[in-house]
Symmetry: C2
Amino acid sequence: MTYKANEQRMQDKIDTFSKFGDAGHGGITRYCFSEADIQARNEFKRRMEAIGAEFKTDDIGNMYATLKGSEPDLPNIVTGSHTDSVKNGGNYDGILGVMSAMEVLEAIHEQNIPHRHNITAMVWTNEEGSLYPPAMMSSGIVMNDYLPAEIKKNFIFENMMKSKSVIDNKTTFKEALDNSGFKGDKANRLNAKDYCANFELHIEQGPILEANNNDIGVVTCVLGMVNYRIKIYGVSDHAGTTPMKFRHDALYGAAKVLQYLHDELDKLDDELVYTTGEILCHPNVHTVIPDYVEFSIDARHEKEEVIKQVVEVIKNIPKEIVGCTTDYEVAWTRDTVYYDEELVSMVQESVDELGYSNQRINSGAGHDAQFVSYMVPTTMVFVPSKDGHSHCEPEFTSTKQCTQGASVLLNAILKRDAK
Amino acid sequence: MTYKANEQRMQDKIDTFSKFGDAGHGGITRYCFSEADIQARNEFKRRMEAIGAEFKTDDIGNMYATLKGSEPDLPNIVTGSHTDSVKNGGNYDGILGVMSAMEVLEAIHEQNIPHRHNITAMVWTNEEGSLYPPAMMSSGIVMNDYLPAEIKKNFIFENMMKSKSVIDNKTTFKEALDNSGFKGDKANRLNAKDYCANFELHIEQGPILEANNNDIGVVTCVLGMVNYRIKIYGVSDHAGTTPMKFRHDALYGAAKVLQYLHDELDKLDDELVYTTGEILCHPNVHTVIPDYVEFSIDARHEKEEVIKQVVEVIKNIPKEIVGCTTDYEVAWTRDTVYYDEELVSMVQESVDELGYSNQRINSGAGHDAQFVSYMVPTTMVFVPSKDGHSHCEPEFTSTKQCTQGASVLLNAILKRDAK
């Protein structure tokens, strides 16, 4: 049999949480441990305790609300996401995974659904890292010992506690955590012994489900990626006094290299995505020919062989172009993280049984689930993002779609519970 | 007969002034009214008073040192440049015109050269505008009533006095002027009645004289220019979740527009110079597809018809490119400023008589002389810039070349005096 989440209750949660950090024009700004975030955290606690869930926090402020199962010695099944947002973000990124986790527990409670395992709704602290970088901070901390070396070198616990507010460049994450009232015991952290499965529901943050008219994305992996810095060295000269033939214009060089990258990368796999989002130009004065330009190139694909081809293209950037020299440097890489096949199947079966239109999809963005998956079997459920928007105020998923997602989550968790 | 400047005395001045603001690795930082600039100003005053020149300053701190002529009721002939520099600038830009002006007066004094007109060595305050923008501030103020409307709108006296230090964003130009000890009387300003000719010697700041193996540039004009802002509007989306075909990447659009500009502008006149020195990218985050990019395009040519062709190319930028829309906005324009033909001839005759290799040249950069020329007949003399460098520490002109330039200046001034 299939169970369903309650659309009205989902709407109530969406309406309630959208007020915490309401920026006044349809979206929210809800930085980690801000007043708005504390409001959202208290609301999570209040609602979970109202249905008899046991509430606790760990030493990084991650919150766990657990409904006891009939066999409480079995490890917990956990589902959740984050309450914090980017600046002027929308009402769905992160918080929808929290609301869906609450909805799962509320539905189980209301419908008196039998379950053997403890089922935990969870909130990860500071997923966005918008105020206290980096992103996925607390899942990085908790899963630290399980992370691949390449990721781990970016996650040094001591450094992260010292992370300073990007606004005042003074307040540290540790201070905000200490003052939040949500700092608990390290022993309460999610761990490999006490947890057997993790599910995260999230908005897609892309246009694929909507374009294919599908309501649910059965997520199979988080895409592998490479992130390089491309550097172009020219010579700085006066814009008015240097004939064109004497120039070594690093910005024109950068435009040429960017075109080369597009030309070559477009020849590779159709599923490849690559982005130059950041460019630095020196001295960046309108009357001076630039002597140095650096830009980022971020490329993601499920298959390692395609990522390797991308790296080859980068390595083959012409060493000299329009009188400039070029260089590149790897910023970071991550391999594709495949989600747990058994859990993916349980999600797929649940969607099929519920009869929702769906497809397999990969996650191009990073999520806490991706870090958790190194320690505990994990998978994700995606719901559509209208026009593919996320991290902005127009971010939207209909309450019907949100509720369908929560229903999928509920049934998948119950399938895992029954195993 | 021809007169010559003294190479040893020039060397002494170069050595002395290079110490004021010495940055420790071959160049100087000598912001307007900084301690280093005050030192340079005092040295100018000391040397000029030592040869009996009358020293005065005007209300913007411009300095005038005058050797009386035999017919002191005739208007003055003036020559000079500026003592201030850019950050980590060289030992020649500006100050060489001041040292050459001093050398002219010192040579006249030492060699007892008869002259009818008063001859004034001059220092313009804050030509670079590096600490207190804009550049050419004080010549803009003094010549304000004579400037074309299009230039004038950028030169509002009251605003400029309020110009804030780019370092502390607090100290105003007016405060620095008041505290400098060099604020004098407005009545002392250079004016159309009391001055009949203006000469400015400057380093070329480009590679042309050196490439042609010429020691002197007989400057005929300051190039006309246009400066536009090019704008590309895209859509911001997540770098990991947005398939390539759904993208509206404003930075890729900018690269395409830049290439279009290079392709089309390269078809125009060989003498045209154009530069994109500044680029802004929003939000400039490596994981976000840029939704807005803006860049500058500065183009300079002597002939108005070529500048018009440039504007046509800009107007014909495709309105849509790689899914983005484009727009443009004029930032400013200036027409070519032709220097006084009679003074140009006097410079040419002087160079020829001295037997120095030379060529006609235009000035791609702006100088105080360009503003003065709207009020008083003006011309310029260029000496070579090694490797075309300027506004940087490797800036270099040999003392021999500097002295040749001062000799040309001396003889041209005497020709004007004799008229």
